[in-house]
Symmetry: D3
Subunit: 159 residues, 6 copies
């Protein structure tokens, strides 16, 4: 029986959609490690440390959740952590195609590693970190898309 | 922590793709109930009893797996069984769209019920019960697509 | 300036998703004709007369809406009515592909006829007449998917 | 070097889209066998003999084209004919998904058999046999979608 | 009854596909505002002023069309203009997914704002500003994809 | 009868998926020209010369294959070479949409030029140059995704 699952992503920043997927994952797994990826290809809006800080504020006090930084290959990180499950949220067909390709590649690199796809609540279907940043950049109200600490951080960043 | 998941379908007949998804589900859940749907809309190639018989032969001896018949709404069946997770295998975009719609509907009907999508091994990506039946009908070799008891049953049915 | 648009479909039965699209169409067009198609290929759950009756109950009193029966080619019906716009609701990629093909065909048959795609509210994304019938058939609660007269009709039909 | 390719389908009836794909195939292959499938699951509008008769009228005089009837598995037919290439036309994403699954299955059943996908001219993107029959059934003008002999046959059938 | 619709985009540069969508929109709405977005993320081939200049040349003399520059959130621009409809052209599935997500987000930010999807003529299905720029960059003939003033501007830019 | 086909791409670097498509193309065409595109928009991991060098090592000794550099429009290159067929490999829906658009554009620019889509073996479905580079960058084992010379080159580049 698997006890631990890894939920990887950029979380730049964490949205209500991410939190929704996390809650669904915690109905299935005893422990979920949120693995925050260092972006090596592009600069994020928030640094990895800031993204981790926001996640900690948002899921504070739930000891079934661990927040960690990872760099390098996700499969190597999973192997090191002894995890056999990757959690991914699905929203759309474009998501699905890429996720499918990635999951097959990861399985090839580490055959014991499987990917579990969960579906976000329909109220979050259109919420992505990049759209949220776009709205916040121009002073739009993002309070229904992100938790309060993230809303404050976005307001600070773009003021 | 969820201990039980339901893997619903027609299984007319069970293929190696279904078995692959079942094994992946058993890495995550302590018990999986294969819930064989009575087809009310169309006659299957095998009756519900035959489909259950083939499943029993194929997964014999694994007491983490239960095989059951269900009719009516899947959400009601899940409620009765105390299960909060539905297992579905994904192969293609067309699958995904329909599954997505169904999962949202089921969640609306029974909010505690969530759907977990697993991905079949790439060697089974093209294997579906209906394609297998099409091949077997014309005497094609289906031994790489279905377990031996199913191969025998298909040969008997179409001879 | 176009004053009239046609919203064609089977409406077997009308759902809250249809009503949502209708309301959005009425923000754009002065009059919308709900054109109920006679199903020649397959028997519906409700007859064309019953489907029209339910629609009348649901949109009663809004004189910007006309409910009509049509058979034959939609483009001929539109030509007879002097309408140059077809309204279609979009939910998913599978919808989109088929609708796209149909709209190009219709435009070829009647070049003045254009198709306008509207998007249903996200709370109706998974609601289709066929899923609703499936749920009602087994005694499931469909009150959040269809207007009250339709809910009663479904209960009568399946009791 | 492959000299012969098989272009399978129902051709119920042949459309300008099919003819367009055939012409493109003849730019690549020395001989193309149009393999008309007997529909065992559903009755067509035209019998297999009628469908073959229409094809003969339409491609008359081109001795690079052979028209043949096949039943059973396409891979067995291809093996018997010594053909290693299947021709398929692509129009849309829904086509693509199904064709992809079928091509992988066929390759598994007969590893030397490969599928070549060609793209119809954009003027035929929306033309399918079933839409054409729908239009003709109600007396619509199908002269831009099908060759003249097919137009006459459709008019006869539906008068 | 809505009188005004907004057709937003980069228009870098305007293509015949854009013009085709504009004409279809003018069959439905009394006035269409072409809202040219300032690209803040990436430099365009043409500046916002040049893109507006080309649009003015191309739609000169049609006083139902207004061309405007906008920056910031589209929903805020629509609110300021008193417009309740966004016009978007659809070509492909990849378009559709993204447009769908965007439209749901915009509706959340400004609930009175709806998105109307129109379908370009099939002769423009493959025409996009970026492909046109790619072709023009290497001296290819783009005269069937863009209006004459745009063709001249592209030739000047890349000579 | 076409004797020559062009297989264009970045090949940065060539993968087993590319080699698989090449072999399938050689079953149909007498000669295949691998046309390596100079990337003008973004720097590749390998220069065009290095990418060509790796291709030469991998397909050495097969005189049905020519490896060439091209810049500018693919259609102009095809015209110069007297080739009427473009070879493209298909993996996923996202691929398909873009390829479809590109093929229609190319056909418009050079009407004698047709695109033939081939499907990679299912064992390569998830292999792309960019995923391979991602894995190699972090020291992952790419030996099942690329030929040995490419594996060595990737190890050198990222050490």
């Amino acid at each position: 029986m698997q006890r631990i699952a890894i939920y990887p992503g950029s979380f730049d920043p964490v949205t209500n959609g991410h939190i929704d997927i996390l809650k669904r994952a915690l109905d299935i797994f005893e422990q979920v490690v949120i693995a925050v990826a260092e972006n090596i290809h592009k600069a994020g809006l928030f640094t990895a440390e800031e993204r981790i800080g926001l996640l900690r504020e948002v899921v504070a006090g739930d000891d079934r959740v661990e927040i960690d930084l990872f760099s390098g290959l996700l499969v190597e990180y999973a192997r090191r952590r002894g995890a056999c499950t990757i959690i991914r949220g699905l929203r759309a067909v474009a998501d699905f195609e890429y996720e499918f390709q990635l999951a097959l590649m990861n399985r090839q690199l580490y055959s014991a590693l499987d990917t579990v796809f969960l579906m976000t609540d329909q109220s979050h279907l259109y919420v992505s970190s990049s759209l949220v940043k776009e709205v916040a950049r121009f002073g739009g109200d993002v309070s229904t898309f992100v938790p309060p600490p993230v809303e404050r951080a976005l307001r600070d960043r773009f003021k």
